[in-house]
């Protein structure tokens, strides 16, 4: 059995009176590609942000290799350097070029030498097909290009797990494909990934495990074959039928 990297335990999150996540339990094992699907407002993105500690949970805990990630800034920083995140709105640093975007954190967080950081940046930018654009600023790139750079930037940290928060939702239909292709290639390398997405075909074909979230609960947690062809939960069925019809 593969080792558990991240374990979400009894996690709840409320914004005021509004409960967004209710007692979530998820174990993420090395090499898993988990797609989280569900309608808007079901808590998918909040869950991902809690896993990266961008949101503080109301109760419950996040375990990393068997020990709790405490709310101490240094510990959070160390944890985040191993658990990267790709955002819906890319969040590339607007004041930096593509190359600088990919080198900043490896230099300042991992303290790599300039040459090491450069080599890593070029390797990953080449992999996503963005190496020719190293001198461009984010504002000069298309959405798909930005997202590919953002993925390369996260990979430069050599993360153990990479979280994707609706990475294609802000993209034109034409650009969705280029980003999904990069993610498919990543999946093939064995990187552990947790992906919040509305791309059902992608979830079905690429994930090793699909989680359906509904109103803050994990409604169903199964293999994609099971979840897409034979959903147990009536809410899953309803969601999927609407998706396939629409």
């Amino acid at each position: 059995m593969e080792e558990t990297i991240i374990s979400v335990q009894n996690l709840s999150k409320a914004f005021g009176d509004h409960e967004v996540l209710r007692k979530i339990d998820i174990d993420v094992k090395a090499g898993e590609i988990i797609c989280i699907v569900g309608s808007s407002g079901s808590g998918k993105s909040t869950l991902l942000r809690c896993i990266n500690k961008l949101e503080r949970q109301t109760s419950g805990k996040i375990m990393y290799h068997g020990s709790e990630v405490k709310d101490v800034q240094k510990e959070i920083n160390r944890y985040r350097s191993k658990v990267g995140m790709v955002f819906q709105s890319f969040n590339l640093f607007n004041n930096k070029t593509v190359l600088e975007n990919c080198m900043l954190c490896t230099r300042k967080v991992l303290h790599l030498t300039k040459q090491e950081a450069f080599d890593r940046a070029i390797t990953h930018l080449k992999a996503v097909g963005m190496a020719p654009y190293i001198h461009a600023k984010p504002a000069q790139l298309s959405g798909g290009q930005k997202q590919r750079v953002a993925i390369a930037r996260s990979l430069c940290m050599n993360p153990e797990v990479l979280l994707f928060d609706e990475p294609t939702s802000a993209l034109d239909p034409e650009m969705v494909g280029e980003v999904l292709n990069v993610m498919k290639e990543l999946a093939a390398t064995g990187l552990t990934m947790i992906i919040v997405t509305h791309e059902m075909a992608f979830a079905r074909d690429v994930s090793t495990r699909t989680i359906f979230m509904d109103r803050g609960y994990v409604a169903e947690d199964a293999t994609p074959q099971e979840l897409f062809t034979n959903p147990k939960n009536p809410r899953t069925r309803e969601f999927l039928s609407r998706y396939l019809a629409g």
């Binding site: 990266n52 961008l54 503080r56 405490k70 709310d71 101490v72 800034q73 240094k74 959070i76 920083n77 160390r78 944890y79 985040r80 350097s81 191993k82 990267g84 995140m85 955002f87 709105s89 890319f90 969040n91 590339l92 640093f93 607007n94 004041n95 070029t97 900043l104 954190c105 300042k108 967080v109 070029i122 930018l125 080449k126 097909g129 190496a131 020719p132 654009y133 190293i134 001198h135 461009a136 600023k137 000069q140 953002a150 930037r153 996260s154 940290m157």
Partner: protein
Amino acid sequence: MAVILPSIDNPGTSIEWMIFLARKYMSMFLEGTKLTLYIAVTGTLLGFVLGYIIGIIQDIKISPGDSAVKKIFLRILKVAAAVYVEAFRDTPMIVQAMVVYFGVQQFTGINMSPAFAGILVTVLNTGAYMSETVRGGIGSIDVGQREGAWAMGMSPMKTMLYIVLPQAFKNIIPEMANTFLTNLKMTSVLNVIAVQELFMAAKTVGGNYYKYFESYLVIALIYFVLCFVFNRIFIRMEKRLAGRSDYVLAVEYMDNQ
């Protein structure tokens, strides 16, 4: 400057008086201009530094995971910053000058030179306004910029330093230019603590011949020229900082060759 001004022995009209006074008290006006510039430049630059520090302090979020000592320290720091900003934004600079100058004298026995006191007041005044500008500048940067850095393990302080501040800085350049021009003119109130700047020079010169209108008109012209010139410089700097809008493709990494 003395060369381009004609010498006038019996001034009659206001213009003649202005030329006469400017020639006769040239060194006084020049010294005044120098001191005005010195106080404005030093005071503004140091004030900016103070403003950035205070602005960053006000932006720090106390996180529940911090140790008790750190929490208390940050609270005290934030309250002190807030009190300082409020005090200096809610009182006139001319009063601040008096209070600082005479206050320091009375309570510490230290006799500051008027010029030093002038710079101190300018720094404190600028810092208070600047901190609000910095806070606004920081607030204008999308939170996603920070989250992008945090999500890769960068500390909030480094994120502030490498990502947020450089972008905020660019956004508040016009406001910083504004502050400098304001300070250049506000140094005139420092004559109340006997700083020998331009206003003081005009007052002295005017008193010698009872020609106040002409004397003040001379320094009005000097202030105008200074501000006008600095304004042009700032506009140019801003354009230069805007940077290139194009980029060069790194052809060495094109894979279709």
